[in-house]
C-alpha cells in the first residue's frame, strides 16, 4: 500500500494483506498492521476501525453440527461401498456379455464359413444350377449338389454331388502346365474326386456306383488310392465306372450325348442292361420296380435307346426283351412274356 496517502476504509478492506492480518488474533504479532500505522500516521483510528470491523464480523454464531459428523460419514461409506460393489457387478456382467458376444460372433462366422448351399431335386425334377463362377450344373432328379455359401474366388472351386449332374465348367485355365488354385475345380462324388479344368461331363453316382462320361475338355479322376496317385485322365468321349473306388469299366462311348439325354427330359441308354434302366427309373423318376426274375436284370439291349417318356421306354423294353411290363401310377411290374 503506497505510503503517506490518507487511507480509506475501502482501501484497507480491499487489501489482501490487511485482511489476512486483521483475521489473526490480537495477541499474535501482526507486523503488517504496525507497518501500516507507521506508514500512515494519521490513519491510526481508521486502521483500528477496520480491524474491529473484521474481528466483530468474524465473531459469529457457529453451526458445526458436530454430533452428526459420524452419522453422515457412515452414510457416505455405505454409499461408496455399495457403489463400487454394484460397479463390480456391472463390470462383471459386461465382461460375461462381451465374452459371450465374442464367442457367438466367432461361432456365427465359422458357421457361415462352413455353411453350404444345397440344391436338391425331387424325383423326375431337373434343375439347372449356376455357380458363382458361372459354371452350369444340370441336376437330374433325386440328386443333390452342395457348395460353399462363401464361394472362394481365390481358392479351389469345390462342389459335392450326390446323384446325377451334368457339369459345364467355366474354363479359366489357359496354360495347362501351370494350374493355379483359382483355376482348379473339383467335384466330390461319393468315392472319387473329379478334377476339372473347364469342360463338360456327366457324373452319375447311384447305388454305390459312379459313372463319369466326359463330353469335352479334360478331367482327372482321383479315386484316393495311393497307387494311382497321379489319377486317371479322361479324354473326350470316354466314360468310366467306379464301384467302391475300383475302376470297373472304362470305354469310349459311341454316343456320349446319350449320357446327358436326361437333361432334355429324355431317356437315353447305350448298350444298357435292364438293371441299369431300372435304376434310372427308380433313382431319377421315383418308380418302384418289381421284377419277377432277378436274372432278367442282366438282359442287355444292344445299341441306343432314345425316347421321351417312360411309357415309350416301356414299350421299347417290352418289344426288345420280350417282357410284359405293367405301369400303374408309380409302380412298374416286369415279368417275362
Amino acid at each position: 500500500m503506497p505510503q503517506n496517502i490518507p487511507l480509506t476504509l475501502q482501501a484497507l478492506l480491499d487489501d489482501d494483506e490487511f485482511v489476512h492480518a486483521a483475521r489473526q488474533p490480537a495477541h499474535h504479532p501482526r507486523p503488517y498492521l504496525a507497518k501500516l500505522r507507521e506508514d500512515h500516521p494519521g490513519s491510526e483510528a481508521l486502521i483500528n476501525e477496520a480491524v474491529v470491523f473484521v474481528a466483530t464480523y468474524r465473531h459469529q454464531a457457529v453451526f458445526t453440527h458436530e454430533n452428526r459428523r459420524q452419522a453422515v460419514w457412515d452414510r457416505i461409506e455405505s454409499t461408496i461401498d455399495s457403489a463400487s460393489a454394484s460397479r463390480r457387478r456391472v463390470f462383471g456382467f459386461i465382461r460375461i456379455a462381451a465374452a459371450l458376444f465374442l464367442f457367438l460372433s466367432v461361432a456365427l462366422l465359422f458357421w457361415q464359413y462352413r455353411q453350404t448351399i444345397s440344391v436338391e431335386t425331387a424325383f423326375g425334377e431337373i434343375r439347372a444350377v449356376e455357380l458363382p463362377d458361372h459354371s452350369r450344373i444340370t441336376l437330374n432328379g433325386n440328386s443333390s449338389l452342395r457348395y460353399a455359401r462363401n464361394w472362394d474366388k481365390t481358392g479351389v472351386r469345390e462342389v459335392w454331388i450326390d446323384g446325377e449332374g451334368l457339369f459345364e465348367v467355366k474354363h479359366l485355365n489357359r496354360d495347362t502346365a501351370h494350374i493355379t488354385d483359382t483355376q482348379r475345380f473339383i467335384v466330390h462324388a461319393k468315392d472319387i474326386d473329379i478334377e476339372v479344368l473347364g469342360t463338360t461331363f456327366n457324373v452319375r453316382e447311384r447305388n454305390g456306383k459312379t459313372n463319369v462320361q466326359l463330353l469335352s475338355g479334360k478331367i482327372r479322376i482321383d479315386d484316393h488310392q495311393a497307387e494311382t496317385k497321379a489319377g486317371l485322365t479322361m479324354k473326350p468321349g470316354e466314360a468310366v465306372s467306379y464301384k467302391k473306388k475300383e475302376l470297373v469299366k472304362r470305354r469310349f462311348s459311341a454316343d456320349p450325348a446319350a449320357a446327358i439325354a436326361w437333361t432334355q427330359k429324355r431317356l437315353a441308354f447305350e448298350d444298357a442292361s435292364l438293371g441299369e434302366i431300372i435304376e434310372t427309373l427308380e433313382n431319377a423318376y421315383g418308380y418302384t420296380v418289381k421284377i419277377s426274375d432277378e436274372k432278367l436284370r442282366n438282359e442287355r439291349i444292344e445299341g441306343t435307346i432314345n425316347v421321351n417318356h417312360v411309357p415309350e421306354l416301356i414299350e421299347t423294353l417290352e418289344s426288345a426283351l420280350h417282357l410284359r411290363i405293367t405301369l400303374k401310377q408309380k409302380s412298374i411290374t416286369i415279368t417275362p412274356n
Binding site: 490480537a26 474491529v52 470491523f53 459469529q60 453440527h65 460419514w73
Partner: protein, 204 residues
C-alpha cells in the same frame, strides 16, 4: 496447504484414511458454510454426503486444486444450491437469511454498550444487503479469501467480484464512519480479549 495437498494425492490414489481425514477436517466448516444458505440441516447433510460420495467415485478424474478447502466449498456450494433450487423454494440465494450476520452468543461475557452498538449496526447494515453481497463479505472477511478465490467459488469473473464487494463496503463504510472514533478506540482495547475468544471458536 502442503499437508492437504499430500492428503489429496493419497486420497486420489484410493487411500481411505486420507479420504476420511479430508472429511474430518472439513465437515464442520462445510456445515457452517451450508448453514449460511439454509436452515434445512438435512439438506446440508445430504449435500455433504453427495459431495464426498461423488468425490470418491470420480477421484481419479479429479485435478489437483490449489486449495482443497476452496475446491470443497465450490463443489459443495454447487450441490447445495442445486438442491435448494430443486426444492423450488429458492431462486439462487435466499435474501431473507442467506449469509446474515448473526453474532455469537456469549452468555459468559457481558458486552459493553458500545460493542453491542457495533454489532447491532453490523447486523442492521449487513443484513440489509442483498444476499450475494452478504455472501461476498462472508467469503472475504470470515473465510479470508482473495478476489480470485471468491470469483472462482461464486462462478463470476474477478471484476464482478471486485464490484460486488465494493458496493457492499460502500454501504458498510457509511455506517461505520458514523461511529465516533472514541467509541472505536474503546472497543479496540476490549478486543484482545474478544478476539482471543472468537479465534478459539473459529480457528481454521
Amino acid at each position: 496447504m502442503s499437508d492437504s495437498a499430500e492428503l489429496w494425492q493419497a486420497f486420489k490414489e484410493g487411500d481411505r484414511p486420507a479420504y476420511a481425514r479430508i472429511y474430518d477436517l472439513n465437515f464442520a466448516r462445510l456445515c457452517h458454510y451450508g448453514y449460511k444458505f439454509t436452515r434445512n440441516t438435512a439438506l446440508i447433510e445430504d449435500s455433504i454426503h453427495d459431495l464426498f460420495a461423488r468425490m470418491w467415485v470420480s477421484r481419479r478424474k479429479l485435478g489437483e486444486p490449489a486449495s482443497v478447502k476452496n475446491y470443497l466449498y465450490k463443489a459443495f456450494r454447487n450441490i447445495l444450491l442445486r438442491k435448494l433450487q430443486a426444492d423450488g423454494r429458492f431462486d439462487d440465494l435466499d435474501d431473507d437469511y442467506a449469509f446474515r450476520y448473526e453474532p455469537a452468543q456469549d452468555a459468559s461475557m457481558v458486552l459493553r454498550e458500545n460493542e453491542q452498538a457495533l454489532r447491532q449496526k453490523l447486523q442492521f447494515v449487513i443484513n440489509g444487503l442483498p444476499a450475494r453481497q452478504r455472501e461476498i463479505i462472508y467469503l472475504r472477511f470470515y473465510e479470508g479469501m482473495n478476489y480470485e478465490e471468491i470469483a472462482d467459488l461464486m462462478a463470476i469473473n474477478v471484476n464482478s467480484a471486485y464490484k460486488l464487494l465494493y458496493k457492499a463496503l460502500d454501504k458498510l463504510q457509511k455506517v461505520l464512519t458514523l461511529s465516533k472514533t472514541s467509541v472505536i478506540m474503546a472497543l479496540v482495547l476490549n478486543f484482545s480479549l474478544l478476539e482471543q475468544k472468537s479465534e478459539n471458536i473459529f480457528h481454521q
